[in-house]
């Protein structure tokens, strides 16, 4: 399967902000956070459609989220994920002795998700990562 090397940034979005105020277990939050914004041309190159599942991998882990065509392009080679449990499956925990992990500028790879791979809802994601319900 074709892969692409990219730089992963994370941050706040207004939808993530309103989603979290609807409740951390709400559908609004899930839909606003379990996503990855990708440049239009990069999506085409990988053959991923807007709204399809995409796999984001870093040396710290990998996660399946929904690909979203970025309306703020062009930004080839840069992908963007809102703060939340999904990005943290792949975020860089290194703090360089400052207390602050590296949430921005992480080396990552993206590829289309296989048909067996799906976006986990919060409960399943927590169960998979922490073994608790």
């Amino acid at each position: 399967m074709q892969k692409m090397k990219v730089t992963l940034l994370s941050g706040r979005t207004i939808n993530q902000g309103t989603g979290k105020e609807h409740g951390k277990t709400s559908q609004e939050y899930y839909e606003s956070v379990a996503i990855c914004e990708v440049d239009t041309n990069d999506l085409d190159a990988l053959g991923i459609k807007d709204g399809a599942n995409i796999k984001v991998s870093t040396e710290f882990g990998s996660i399946i989220v929904k690909a979203k065509e970025s309306i703020r392009g062009p930004h080839p080679g840069i992908i963007y994920m809102p703060y939340g449990p999904w990005i943290n499956a792949v975020a860089n925990p290194t703090t360089h002795s400052t207390g602050m992990p590296s949430f921005k500028g992480i080396h990552a790879e993206i590829e289309p998700a296989t048909s067996a791979e799906r976006v986990l809802p919060l409960h399943e994601l927590l169960k998979q990562a922490f073994g608790k319900e």
Binding site: G11, I14, G17, S26, G84, P93, S97
Partner: protein
Amino acid sequence: MPIVKNVTCPICGTFCDDIELTVKKNKVVDVKNACAMGEAKFLNYSDPHHRNLNPLIRRNGTLVETSWTEAIKKSAKILAEASYPLLYGWSSTCCEAISAGIELAEEIGGVIDNTSSVCHGPSILSIQDVGISTCTLGQIRHRADLIIYWGSDPYSAHPRHLERYTAFTEGRFQPSEWKRYVSRLRGVIGKKKLERASQLALMEEFSVPPITGNQFPPTLETEKERKLIVIDARRTHSAEFADYFVQVEPNKDYELLQAMRMLVKNEELEVEKVAGVPVGVLEKIVDVMIGCKFGVLFFGVGLTMSSGKLRNIDAALALTRDLNFATKFVIMPMRGHFNVTGANMVSIWQTGYPFSVDFSQGFPFYNPGETSAVDILSRDESDAALVIASDPVANFPRVAAQNLVKNPLIVIDPEKSATALMADVVLPSTFVGIEAEGIAYRMDGVPLPLKRVVKPPKGLLSDEEILRRILREVRKLKRSQRRSNA
């Protein structure tokens, strides 16, 4: 229907204090003046599906309802028995609760850290090293004629910041820039949508190309009125509002800041581009900075989280200092949560340090990188934790979150957060600023009151009350331990 005026909004660091709430039968039914985030909170906070309404305790792997007495006793026992407990969160509660939390940390010899360690912690470290030239937001609102946001997207994270304090506010000595922006918009989006231009501009799914690259507007240097420049690795919605947008290559902010310092000091740059920005353009930006009467640089976590971290802030603070030899310039971190500044303040009053304070040796010890939450957790050193008013399971990198969940975990939260779902004891609290009173500090260090506009659901306690009860119980446990040892 009673309308409650001048309510402060307990969400982001903008900490708006002009919200109007209509309350009907102990329920907020209408919200005026708030942004989408604020409105969503005031209208949805009480949704029982997403709320903790009873104390919970984990039995045989599942969370079940319990009494307050048992939940408090269990929490106190976990904390008193732990050898290196971590008390984390604090930025979304009031100063009174934070104060009680620090007392508790001291009593149990634990580490107390607030969310600034993963947010503007590096900024604080750097301010301690370099110093800061800053002011209140009121000053900026009325006087600033050059506004720069660097690594910060106020439209998304601090939605009313632009409209209340900076570019789009009508100040006493500086008019709003909104009209100029809307007229530019009209030029771009064509006649058809002309009337809707100003509404469109505020919609999330609306995007116009920002002014960037070689299109540096010549008028920017001569323009007398308020100007807005946005510098970011990514083209944000805020970037589209700007008079000029500078796109910096990811992780290269430090180079760009230092290059600007050289230009401020009249030195030559012998390269064509710095961090992807042509030197010719950079020279013009620096001219605008030197030429302004009152400039302000707001910086966000785009600077503190990318490569260089606190060193980026060193450079930004130093740039501001350098600019003050030519004009007046101030700088301010865009603090995230509504009371993260208060968390630092209270921590400083009571311990001498703003965050990451370790009491395990019997006195306050501060060494971020060692005593900060993510580091302690990544090294797997703590053996129990209390989390309040934050969601580290969702927001910490995976290894840190895993080590947090592995050990006994107490959560004080009105909401069912990812962290609350993973907890061993859940203590449901009231929403401060809606159901409970308190004090919080706005991002510029101005303290404002949090109001109580509705009665909380029966049986819920405030953050402060819960912490005081745990503290009393811990002291009781310790006394009986001492007695049995004697």
